[in-house]
Symmetry: C2
Subunit: 381 residues, 2 copies
Amino acid sequence: MADFSQQLSALREGIDELDTQLVELLAKRNQITTQVGQLKAQAGMPVYVPEREKALIASRRAQAEALGVSADLTEDLLRRVMRESYHTQNNNYRCVKPDLDNVVVIGGAGALGRVFVSLFERSNYTVSVVEKDDWDNGRAYAVLSSASLVVVAVPINLTESVIGKLTMLPKACVLADITSIKAKPLDAMLAVHEGPVVGLHPMFGPDAPGMIKQVVVVCDGRRSEQYAWLIEQMRIWGATIHDSTAKEHDQAMAYIQVMRHFNTFVYGQHLKGENPDLESLTMFSSPIYRLELAMVGRLFAQSPQLYADIIFNNPDNFALLRRFHERFGLALTLLEEGNKKGFVEQFMKVGAWFGDYAKKCLVDSKQMLLKADDGQLLRDK
Amino acid sequence: MADFSQQLSALREGIDELDTQLVELLAKRNQITTQVGQLKAQAGMPVYVPEREKALIASRRAQAEALGVSADLTEDLLRRVMRESYHTQNNNYRCVKPDLDNVVVIGGAGALGRVFVSLFERSNYTVSVVEKDDWDNGRAYAVLSSASLVVVAVPINLTESVIGKLTMLPKACVLADITSIKAKPLDAMLAVHEGPVVGLHPMFGPDAPGMIKQVVVVCDGRRSEQYAWLIEQMRIWGATIHDSTAKEHDQAMAYIQVMRHFNTFVYGQHLKGENPDLESLTMFSSPIYRLELAMVGRLFAQSPQLYADIIFNNPDNFALLRRFHERFGLALTLLEEGNKKGFVEQFMKVGAWFGDYAKKCLVDSKQMLLKADDGQLLRDK
């Protein structure tokens, strides 16, 4: 046994030596990617280049296979490394419209507002921030009267009233918002301002590495040629642009946000009402179940007002929620009648409706769940 | 611009060179971990050693920080690398009970059954598999009459009837099952067999890397000292053992499996009924929303019968589902009455019930969501 221990120690030293080299490699890579960032900033080249990323991964996958190393492992590691370099480069970006006078972000101290302020500043724009107090002391009026771009980044429930105050904008000023509903703010902006108007919805939260690889929904209001530069600027920041009407957007959000969050809210209420031991439930849970629990729990670490605003915003959505309630009741009747056959038939019909999408969900989420366990989701670290 | 292009090319070559070294490093590491696996198999040492893993990560994190490399990046990479070596080592394990005559896995061709067969074989046990046909041709009777351990690994809806046939087991034979419900199979096993009985529930699916770091719930039936070797064997395979009564287990599963899967089933029915464009919804979705969609979609790529069995199994659970339905209805009334204040109050009460657990869910799931985007969850690859 002593001999085995010695052999094991020797092998572990070998692994430690290689892992040490790995960290040194990361340090060197970091130095080079920092230089890449600086070069790109000077030359106005985009940070995220999909073709380069694809080619890099393809080359290393091929090399891995040739050496008997898992290609998937290699890709996973590279993607994680690349995410870090996107996140930490804190790049400057090429300025699409250098002659622009003044960008004003209303609510620029908020989580997402701050992201936009930072991106504009790192693209060499002059940025002013307008907050609540500035409306009383006259500063808001002064700043907005000379703005070239105004981005409204305030909480949903304040958005329309804030937009309503924007009567002083220069005619050529671009007016935009980043609210997670689009129809009402867009109508409000079109009503208060004669110039170019666009509704944006960045489909990511403030934790994401800036805008790289994130989706921004763009809903045209008026005079898109006048704000085309802004869309290009966001592309330079790495965003994927998704054009949509405000109506399509809000309908999608009915499912994506309202339906989902309300269901999660009720699920949380239900758990509270039934009062199981959460630590115990977690202990009994495999990775998929821990993820399901986490998706419920996480809601309640966030702002009640934010979710109330999203859920209550559009009464048209209540009918959608009602129909879910009815469907739940009908499905329950299947159970209470012991109609297993009926349940299976309905399950298969839903499967047919999802089609290949269901398989894609299964395959993609399986990969994610393996990663959930790497990171010890909800487990003691 | 030509000069910038040249400089960028040179820097990219530098990155490619380092990434190439990374892959070579992975190949060398693989060679050493394979040797570690062989050594451990010979010496009967466990594959997964928590203290070693912790120490390894701590050392490399410290080194990373000293070199200005992200410690979290380093840890993420190492965890991913280690998962690969656990998964691919296909080790042999120390045999806890070498004098054991015969392990029989009933349903050993099924997904989870196969995992057990493989683990037993790699621990040097003699394993026989009994399948459906073997009951008619006499082979089942022959094999089971001389078994030292029988593991029942058949679908839920067949479990009790299969257990009911096990009247021929030797007195000292250990009888176990791996069904995802525990009270009924345990009672059935205690009724049909006089010897040692234990109910197991492996809390992971067949995609997981064997049993390493996975949870197995153990519900004692009878004579635990007689099957203690089996529990130790599972620990050697890397499992975390969680003791529980069958009742506690089934109550936990009411939340973890029945409540969750039924809700997801209804959600899927609801989407089918409302018929939105799924590709479009995905396009509008940020990572968290794509994950939510994936968690619904994935259900319908799986067996309707499996979920029907789980959901219908215990009528006591229907009342739990009914109460969810009632709570959903009450919450809807809040909306329809425009009672935003009431909603916020109730939201905060649920938050208070979750306590710190909610924050843990948020923090842990945020990490996961960054990884979801690395892997392009539901995005075109």
